[in-house]
Amino acid sequence: MLLDIDSLTVRYRASGGDGDPVRALTDASLTIEHGETDGLLGESGSGKTTLARALVGLLDDAGEVVRGHAWLDAVPPAWADPDGTPRAAVIADDAYPVRADGATDLLALPDEHRRDLRWAEIALVPQRAMGALDPAYTVGAQIREAVRRHDADADAGRRARDALARLGLSATRVDHHPHELSGGERQRAVLAMALACDPALIVADEPTTGLDAVTRDRLLDDLASLDAAVLLVSHDLAALAETATRLAVLHDGRVVETGPTAAVLGAPTNPHTAALRDAWRVGGGAWD
């Protein structure tokens, strides 16, 4: 098991300090296996972005993790031997959020260690990622920077070029600035940035929003072909249906259904899932 999310509960303090805190996520649990492409389906406001950001420690100031664990099958380098196995002293000591099987609780990590794992083991490609590229630097420079920050010894240039090629971007893009790329290319460039760091898990939050049909088709095809595990967070039912092996459905902050994609969509046990599926059908006529 690569990632084991257990009863994650997140709340937001209402702005202004008055009013009850809003529960964005309540007792959310799901698991992701190595190399698997999993989907998290939910409408806007269901808590999916909160979950994605909580995993990598990027909740904004108003958000806090109330309880829960996110066990990642990796250990911060500071607590591991050179070959990656966690040091025995670390496992024996309760003060470290490391389990006997070597999994680390992402949510209990101090910031510095979580940063070490971020990108190296788990990478988040946020929503509207195209806006995440710095317009002042070339695409290649930004990818190389990301690689170097997390693995100083790596051949950053080669990794950048390979990642871009992997996502179908021409090598020319390395020397281009973000504004010289189309929207779809920028989205792929950000994904390439995550890929270049060679993480075990990529969390992609709404990666297909705003993309034209063919680019979207390509992007999903590429995501499915990656060696890394992918958690695809989206409201796009079709994207998940064709790409994800397993599907979790999020509604109002709770995971209401999980299982193999075909089962969840083919025979949903939960009314919210059924409603989402039916609405998707109606939204385009009954011909399929």
């Binding site: 409408e43 806007s44 390979d162 090629a165 992997r166 179908g168 021409s170 090598a171 020319t172 020397d175 010289e180 790329l181 189309s182 929207g183 779809g184 290319e185 034209d212 049909a213 063919v214 680019t215 979207r216 088709d217 390509r218 095809d221 072909s225 409201h235 039912l237 079709a238 994207a239 249906a241 064709e242 994609t261 075909a262 969509l265 083919g266 409603a275 989402l276 599926r277 039916d278 609405a279 998707w280 059908r281 109606v282 939204g283 385009g284 006529g285 009954a286 011909w287 399929d288």
Partner: protein, 432 residues
């Protein structure tokens, strides 16, 4: 005589010379948002304009409701040129053709009450009491009930779905003949989408409306429209009854849209579009057919003996040479140049074995089906590239790697109960 007729409509932006252009001694190239669009919309139908961003669909919307005027061609409504209206004719026209815009958060003035907004098309047509009565009626028709809760409300507290209903009520208020809907549900969540679409269907029946539905959503257009025109970079590539045109297309772009559109049935084998993704050269549309750089059916010259796939790759190679693409740099020999230069950015399902093995970076030129002379020309060009002699490389390919698709914009012709603008349309469902 259709209710709305477009004849050779073109719209270009930015052709005016500025001081900078005078200093640089060049003529600015205008962006052709629409190029020679002709189509007819009949009364009572739902006509789809299917196009992605950059296709010109928004521009076309604006022309249909006379918010902009075409650079060339005519837009006729009820047999009158919309942009040659006198003042009173224009007033009459505006009551008969109304828009609903895409963004429900931008199309309503946040400081104006809903009732006031909905009444805008009625100002000067109905007096105060009649206006109020009409406003209440249309608010009820779009489902914003109890009406009293909405008439004086500001948009601030309304959901996206409610706002879009307000926009719809505004469009309905003057009892129009036509409503032009620009992506009416694309910013709404799935369930709201469904209810709005239902409401639109009911209203069409009750009011006898003609809809023009502009959208990028293939599924929506196919499910909802009677006839469709597919737009690509400002041109109509295919138009006709919706099921033949979209389910069994003759234009490769339409076929790509169909193949790229998912179903949620995980058991069906998905066909991915055999088309390269769009790249950022929107300001410099290619000559001839605008789709040809991406097209799987790009037409080889008559004396081409190799396969069409090989030709397509050769054409890509020729463009890379002409653009001095760095992907061709730094190789030791001609074979390596070709191995990288003949690559196409396609989904895995359409890649060659070598492409798949190399993660999309290389092909095996010997695996591709070129005629002997054709391959010879490619080798000469590749050698020139290795030497750094770009002019020689370009020259070697000239005359050999040519296509009518790059020279001539295809004219529209009638094919199998629809119209297609393609030099070599798909001939049937199987051959795509």
């Amino acid at each position: 005589m259709g209710l709305i007729e477009l004849d050779g409509v073109s719209k270009a932006y930015g052709g005016e010379r500025t001081l900078l252009d005078v200093l640089r001694r060049r003529d600015p190239s205008p962006v052709r948002a629409l190029d020679d669009v002709s189509l007819t919309i009949e009364r009572g139908e739902t006509y789809g304009l299917l196009g992605e961003s950059g296709s010109g669909k928004t521009t076309l919307c604006r022309l249909l409701v006379a918010l902009d005027a075409p650079s060339a061609g005519t837009v006729r409504f009820d047999d009158r040129d919309v942009h040659a209206h006198t003042g009173s004719e224009e007033r009459a026209f505006r009551a008969r053709v109304q828009p609903v815009f895409q963004d429900p958060y931008e199309s309503l003035n946040p400081n104006v009450a809903v009732g006031q907004t909905v009444a805008e098309p009625l100002v000067g047509r109905l007096d105060g009491p009649a206006r109020r009565k009409r406003v209440r009626r249309v608010l009820a028709d779009v489902g914003l009930t109890p009406v009293d809760d909405y008439v004086d409300a500001r948009p601030r507290g309304l959901s996206g779905g409610e706002r879009q209903r307000v926009a719809l009520a505004r469009a309905l208020a003057p009892d129009p003949d036509v409503i032009v809907l620009d992506e009416p549900v694309s910013m709404l969540d799935a369930r709201t989408r469904a209810t709005i679409l239902d409401r639109l269907a009911d209203l069409q029946a009750d009011y006898g409306l003609t809809y023009v539905l502009v959208s990028h959503d293939y599924r929506l257009v196919r499910g909802v429209c009677d006839r469709v025109a597919v737009l690509y970079r400002g041109r109509v590539v295919e138009r006709g009854p919706v099921t033949p045109a979209l389910a069994d297309p003759r234009h490769p772009y339409t076929a790509a849209l169909r193949d790229a559109t998912p179903t949620i049935d995980p058991t069906t084998e998905r066909r991915h579009a055999d088309v390269t993704p769009a790249v950022a050269d929107a300001d410099d549309p290619p000559s001839g057919c605008r789709f040809h750089p991406r097209c799987p059916r790009v037409v080889p010259p008559d004396d081409w003996t190799g396969s069409r796939d090989a030709f397509r790759r050769a054409l890509r190679f020729r463009r890379r040479v002409a653009e001095r693409d760095p992907i061709l740099d730094g190789h030791a020999d001609a074979d390596a140049v070709l191995a990288h230069g003949l690559v196409l950015d396609l989904p895995r399902a359409h890649r060659t074995a070598a492409e798949r093995d190399s993660g999309g970076t290389r092909v095996d030129p010997d695996d591709l089906d070129f005629g002997r002379d054709e391959r010879a020309a490619l080798d000469v060009a590749a050698d020139a590239v290795v030497r750094g002699d770009d002019e020689a490389a370009v020259a070697a390919l000239r005359g050999v790697i040519e296509t009518v698709c790059a020279r001539d914009a295809p004219a529209e012709r009638a094919v199998d109960d629809r119209f297609v603008a393609c030099h070599d349309p798909v001939s049937s469902e199987r051959d795509s």
